[in-house]
Amino acid sequence: MSDIGIFTIGHERMRWLASRVAVVASNVANADTPGYRAKDIPSFEEAVGSVQMQMSVTSPQHLAPQSIGSERYGVLVREQPSEKHSGNSVSLDGEMAILGESRGQQAAVAGIMGSFNRMLLSSVRGGA
């Protein structure tokens, strides 16, 4: 099973989707914060090729590296113009669309992983 790598890539995709949802959640939460720019993470194709090194915390006085999705993939500011007077560039509809998209993709990955899991289990049980 390991040469297929379905669980590895599925796991990575799940992590990426979770990070994306965290970034979208932060965008939605800051939809009314003055000066906030909408953020995103790199696409899965880019992200899976270049997983970032993480800074280690060697002293209790170190602050944790900036949170929400940044640990693994890095956060980038989305290139979209701000149409509000406050300089905020979040579009609630766009964020909700991404959220729904992530939901569907996550269900698909879970379905694939689930069926491979059942295949594994049925081979363990001897096809019973």
């Binding site: 979770a18 949802v21 959640a25 932060s26 939605v28 964020e95 939901r103 879970a110 992983m113």
Partner: protein
């Protein structure tokens, strides 16, 4: 539960409480739309404003949204001529609060929309977590 999903929930919930504070301020403004001074010539209720900021939540390390400050709207009060009113000054003018119900209601709608969006994030994070747990179920 994945850490990022937990972070998503923490920031959505912080936003829910920020938006409910905003709703509270709007309802205070609407409720006091005609609250005038007790003494003659005194200042009436001044409209309150609310503004948000980002803040690091030390317990989780997530940058969440909080209410930065509840301020006062410094725009001029409306003057109404009503000599019989107990709050009227020597010229018979009463200062009315600088609350515009139309502005307040549209602010309320906006707060409601943001609240709904954040609630949708919480709902979706829960569904995604359920999907993950469902994987563990051997069938």
């Amino acid at each position: 539960m994945s850490d990022d999903l937990r972070f998503a929930k923490v920031s959505a919930i912080a936003a829910l409480s920020a938006q409910s504070t905003r709703l509270r301020v709007v309802s205070e403004n609407l409720a006091n739309a005609t609250s005038v001074a007790e003494t003659s010539g005194g200042d009436p209720y001044a409209r309150k404003t609310v503004s948000f900021k980002q803040e690091l939540d030390r317990a989780t390390g997530v940058t969440v949204v909080r209410v930065a400050s509840i301020g006062r709207d410094e725009s001029p009060f409306k003057i109404q001529h009503d000599p019989g009113h107990p709050a009227a000054d020597a010229n018979g003018n009463v200062k009315m609060p600088n609350v515009n119900p139309l502005v307040e209601v549209s602010d309320m709608r906006e707060a409601h929309r943001s609240y709904e969006a954040n609630l949708q994030v919480v709902r979706q994070v829960r569904e995604m977590t359920n999907d993950l747990i469902e994987l563990l179920r051997a069938r």
